[in-house]
Symmetry: C2
Subunit: 318 residues, 2 copies
């Protein structure tokens, strides 16, 4: 059976799966990325992992390629560069080094772009030529498809929308030192920072007056909102407002048919997604109003990150 | 000789030219757009204009198509919709109506996107797959090319970057009622508004304290800057700053190899373009620094708007 090794390299975990042409991952495993300070040892672990999965699957695996999703990956250069949450610093030639170990077709791309491609091949974006996938997790990632093709950019770093400045250079710093960058507002971390902002701005009583920033967790904020905590409600509304504005801005760029939202924050549907839709429609230029769909990913529960990485190889071969 | 009628519909003038496969306009004419309240009369004037040009050129014209650049044009629908500076309101089916008069291949696109295509076929973007063309005139227009193709968007309205909000919804209104929209800052009109802002913010003596807004002209601002007027200098610096920031934001979207700048404000090179380059490089994410070129259009003096419109037909036929 023709299978692709889909490899998702995250700050915490690295996941590997054997993915068929329908996006189904037949076998998968994961290990902790941070256990490997040494890149060579990490790559050896990946190769051993693929062999384990092949053995588990049975004898008839035809491995037709490896697709990798990773933060700060350059699709054109095959590198990971200065990723904030990975240990290997500088420009890491990961594709060339992996190719020395397994000689199959390989492709790497930033994780959100891989997710977009997965959505197009296997998920709810099938048949769409123009859409944007947004991942709302610890950070803010985006993959943009226009004219039926992923926008990779001149040397493969397109789609860094978490670092778009929304404040004329006068706002919060992101992890990559962008002042006013979107990710500093719309992400799990951004939401926590907004709790601080609201505690500072308003005098409402709130459970968060008794919790230190370092002890603050996303689930607490959802729970507090459910109980009517005014600071939590204000923080969610502010986050929804900025996300809606950002998506209206992105629409002016490539006029997508739809946005696909995925990641942890999407689960706070009632508190972020629902009000965001109203803000978004309100901020849209007249010419776009009523035309842009906001959809959920069709990849949830399908080991989405692994399938997205595998889509890099399956693209054009299905 | 195979020629394309390139038609540029502007708020003030409509220009028509017969353009060859190298982007050279052999004959051209123009008339005032505003003289025509009635769309049918306007289209009749265009057809008559093309016939005049054919007659002037001689007997061997083979008209292979009409390309139209216009504000608020939808490339997918063949319409002009709610253009702020045109008299015909609502959704104007200009392509279908012109086709009833001349039966040749036709294509319409917003003027800045047509300019981008012209740059790719005939100008300084030859051979580039990823670039953004920005027109800085009365307004702010953009045409975005990624993967070697113009981004048109789901129904043909992509690239409205003048209406991207840069201020978390808390800034100046654009002509299309976008609060904080880029065009309200970076355009000929935006520069005039910035003079007011600087007169309000600072107490410096300035010639502009004696000139009413309605009497203010772009050339006066350039002249004042040359004479060291502190308000003019501050206004130019502010404009350059915001343009640099906006271009850094756009880079995070599609990572272009280059930006091409065209239009009136580009002539204020020393006052806007030079400081903008410093701001731009400074605002860029680390991963983009030193990689994005800022170039001037290779279309100036080539009846750029006409050639850009004609490029819509010449694309893929050269």
């Amino acid at each position: 059976m023709d299978l692709v090794a889909g490899i998702d390299i995250g700050g915490t975990k690295t996941k590997i799966g054997l993915v068929d042409c329908d996006g189904k991952s037949h076998e998968q495993l994961f290990f902790r990325t941070r256990d490997f300070d040494n890149l060579d040892h990490f790559l050896d672990r990946i190769v051993a992992g693929i062999e384990e999965l092949k053995a588990k699957f049975g004898s008839d695996v035809n491995l037709i390629g490896c697709g990798i999703g990773a933060p700060n990956a350059s699709s054109r250069k095959g590198t990971i560069e200065n990723a904030a949450n990975l240990k290997w610093k500088g420009s890491v030639p990961i594709l060339a080094k992996l190719k020395q170990r397994i000689d199959v077709p390989m492709r790497i791309m930033n994780d959100a772009s891989a997710a977009a491609l997965g959505e197009m091949l296997f998920g709810n974006a099938k048949g769409m030529s123009d859409f944007i996938a947004i991942t709302l997790g610890t950070g803010f990632g985006a993959g943009i498809v226009a004219n039926g093709k992923l926008i990779e950019g001149y040397d493969g770093f397109a789609g860094e929308l978490g670092h778009v400045d929304m404040t004329l250079g006068d706002g919060r710093l992101t992890g990559l030192n962008v002042r006013g960058g979107l990710e500093a507002y719309v992400s799990a971390t951004g939401l926590k920072r907004t709790i601080l902002y609201m505690l500072c701005k308003y005098l409402d009583e709130s459970r968060f007056r008794g919790i230190a920033y370092n002890d603050l967790h996303g689930e607490d904020i959802t729970k507090a909102a459910e109980e009517g905590d005014p600071i939590a409600l204000k923080a969610f509304d502010y986050t929804a407002d900025i996300l809606g504005l950002a998506m209206a801005n992105f629409t002016a760029f490539s006029q997508p048919e739809a946005f696909f939202l995925m990641g942890g924050l999407v689960n706070s549907g009632k508190w972020i997604m629902d009000p965001m839709k109203t803000y978004f429609e309100n901020y849209l230029l007249e010419v776009y109003k009523g035309k842009v769909k906001i959809l959920v990913s069709g990849m949830e529960g399908k080991t989405a990150a692994i399938a997205g990485a595998a889509a890099l190889i399956w693209e054009g071969r299905q």
